[in-house]
Amino acid sequence: MRAGRRLWLAIFLAPAVVLFAAFVTYPILSALAYSLYSWEGIGRRGFAGLANFIRLFTTFPYPRLLVGAFWHNVVVFGLTMLIQNITGLALALILARNPWGARAYRAIFFLPVTLSLVIVGFLWGLFLNPVFGVINKTLGMVGLGALARAWLGEPETALITLTLINAWRWVGFPTIVFLAGINAVPEDYLEAARLDGASEWDVTRRIIFPLLAPAVTIIVILTFIGSFNWFELPYVVQGVSGAPNRATDVLGLLFYRTAFGEVDTGLQDIGVGSAIAVLMFLMLVTVSTVGAVFLRRREVEMG
């Protein structure tokens, strides 16, 4: 019986394990191997030890690019937590009270999540186009023409604009997760608190928030991974070079650009590119693990 069960488990797990090994484990290991070799164009040459890592950390412009890109990932994580996730929480709290049209709003907030990221990037790129775009035109029409600018082209606004586009696209996701968390709080707890004279704010703060901790853990970790693996949206909207002047450069773009080259502009540097990939992987694993352990500790058991 036991052996049969194990066999079934193995059978059901096998496809996932095979896929994971082929598309996750193998690439990570090969990136690690590539980062330890020297390269001539696209041809692999001799074993180079840590030479690529040393080059990445000491040869201009790599250290500056690495630090700049890392810092942008941190900024994106911070802004996303502040803007996207807090908005998501607020929306979830409102929706949990079942206001008029709650079901419709739930669908509307979630709608952008279902859109293809390429379409989202392309559409917002059009909206924000300084010549043809609707955003600057609208600002002009309502008398705020002075605010109009090249949102995606100026170093001061480009990264924030991108983060906001990303938040617009994703906000439905934390909303749904938080909403599910809030709905899972047993009605008796809330009722008991209210009978004891707790205000709505007290109920939210002292009962809903602690019981929402598991949802928060998931959202924080997913936001962290999403922010530090951020690639698609900046790639679609700004291209591979982190324009303007690296103002939207993030580790994902830096890795891609270094390993595969900028079109018509840069050359492939597979060694240094792989070194960046290895660093990113190590950082994500470490922080996610530590973060998960830390956040789990503050979760409250229901029951």
Binding site: P130, A150, G153, N245, F260, G261, E262, T265, G266
Partner: protein, 419 residues
């Protein structure tokens, strides 16, 4: 009846399997030809048909990929030991990255005698720095120029400017009349590199500076170079509002739809502009120099090459096609159909704009970063494009641009180190 039909069909199928074309002669060799020129597929298909009628034993399939992914797809194919037989390759460092590790077959004058007639500057784009050998047949040369809308110029009684000051005056006049003088933007760094390739050579001294900087006698910190970059800043008032957010597609649309009077770009646009707006009347001029008695410099470069996969099992057939691409006949078709300057010497240019471009090339200077500084990472272009975005957005000075480019290049150019 049914049974008989089946038997007949099977017999025919068997016959076809066991005796393919061999009955008629020898089996045709099938070659694949990879490229990033999706737009030009119709032209290549036509040339291939012509080649095939003359060489019935060879079949060629032209397979284009999206340009941004092409280098990655080609690298993957070649390193995996597959890849096409014939390869559309970039020039200079973009060729070196495939040629130096041995993925491309070297060519010599015996295999492709037509190459002897190609000018040295064009061949330079097909030569590897590692061993000095030639790795492809150059297909086109490009020149960086200023396009102008003839109708808009005529409406405002403007003529092509001969000096830098006249150029600024023309743009001021247009702006006063409510016309966007220049379509150029800065969202994509490479369009700024092109802009610098048009504007700067007249002020840094063209080929004299190119020779000095490529020999390591000077660097990009040299004031002659950074002052030339500073000239780009004088164009900012005449670019579209919010030009830092204007990408390449928007630039093209503005010029094609006659919303902007001028467009600073490359000669490859001619065919595209024509195809997009049949009624667009446009001319070409070289960036105006300081004084009217100076002949302006234009940046030009070899666009790319047709090469052969070093591991192709059909070397002989591939060579036959490669020789065909070096013939005057191929070059003439290329120029006529694509409105681009074929690299084959002796091609007669009939397109009026292209004739102007050809005339300007009597004083051509190498497009500085592409020809001289794209050989290793980080390339001069990567460094320059980003820094120019900083400069145009106002966060870097021209001197800082020169500093960043020189510092970045010093990681692989010994002569720049410690200078």
């Amino acid at each position: 009846m049914m049974r008989r039909l089946c038997t007949a069909l099977i017999a025919v199928a068997l016959f076809a399997t066991f005796f393919p074309a061999s009955v008629l002669g020898q089996e045709p060799v099938k070659l694949t030809f990879w490229s990033w020129r999706t737009e030009d597929k119709w032209v290549y298909d036509r040339m291939i048909r012509l080649f095939q009628t003359r060489n019935p034993g060879i079949k060629i399939e032209f397979i284009p990929f999206r340009a941004p992914e092409y280098a990655t797809i080609l690298s993957t194919g070649l390193t995996a030991g597959r890849g096409p037989d014939i390869i559309h390759l970039r020039a200079y460092g973009g060729l070196e990255t495939f040629a130096a590790p041995g993925f491309i077959a070297p060519l010599d004058f015996e295999q492709v005698p037509e190459l002897k007639r190609f000018p040295l500057q064009t061949i330079a784009g097909a030569r590897s720095r590692k061993d000095g050998r030639i790795y492809g047949v150059p297909f086109a040369t490009q020149t960086l120029v200023i396009f102008y809308n003839k109708k808009i110029f005529a409406q405002h009684n403007l003529t092509v400017p001969k000096t830098w000051d006249q150029f600024l005056t023309v743009m001021r006049t247009l702006k006063d009349k409510g016309v966007v003088p220049l379509a150029n933007g800065g969202k994509e760094g490479w369009t700024l590199e092109v802009l610098s390739g048009v504007i700067a050579p007249n002020f840094y001294g063209g080929t004299t500076f190119f020779e000095a900087v490529t020999r390591g006698q000077t660097t990009f910190r040299e004031p002659a170079y950074t002052n030339a970059l500073a000239k780009m800043l004088e164009l900012r008032p005449y670019m579209p509002t919010g030009f830092m957010g204007v990408d390449y597609a928007t630039m093209q649309q503005m010029f094609i739809n006659e919303q902007a009077a001028m467009f600073i770009g490359g000669s490859w646009e001619i065919g595209f502009f024509k195809a997009q707006n049949k009624n667009l009347e446009f001319g070409v001029f070289a960036a105006p120099p300081e004084r009217a008695d100076q002949i302006p410099w234009v940046s030009s470069y070899a666009d790319g090459n047709y090469g052969i996969n070093a591991k192709t099992p059909h070397m002989e057939a591939a060579l036959k096609f490669i020789r065909f691409t070096a013939t005057l006949e191929f070059g003439q078709m290329f120029t006529d159909l694509l409105a681009q300057m074929s690299a084959v010497p002796g091609v007669v240019v009939r397109n009026p704009q292209l004739q102007q471009v050809q005339a300007m090339n009597r004083k051509a200077t190498p497009y500085i970063m592409l020809v001289g500084f794209r050989w290793q990472a980080p390339t001069g272009s990567t460094l320059l494009q980003s820094a120019l975005q900083g400069m145009m957005a106002g966060t870097l000075t021209p001197a800082q641009v020169g500093e960043e480019v020189t510092r970045g290049l010093s990681s692989w150019i010994d002569a720049f180190r410690g200078r």
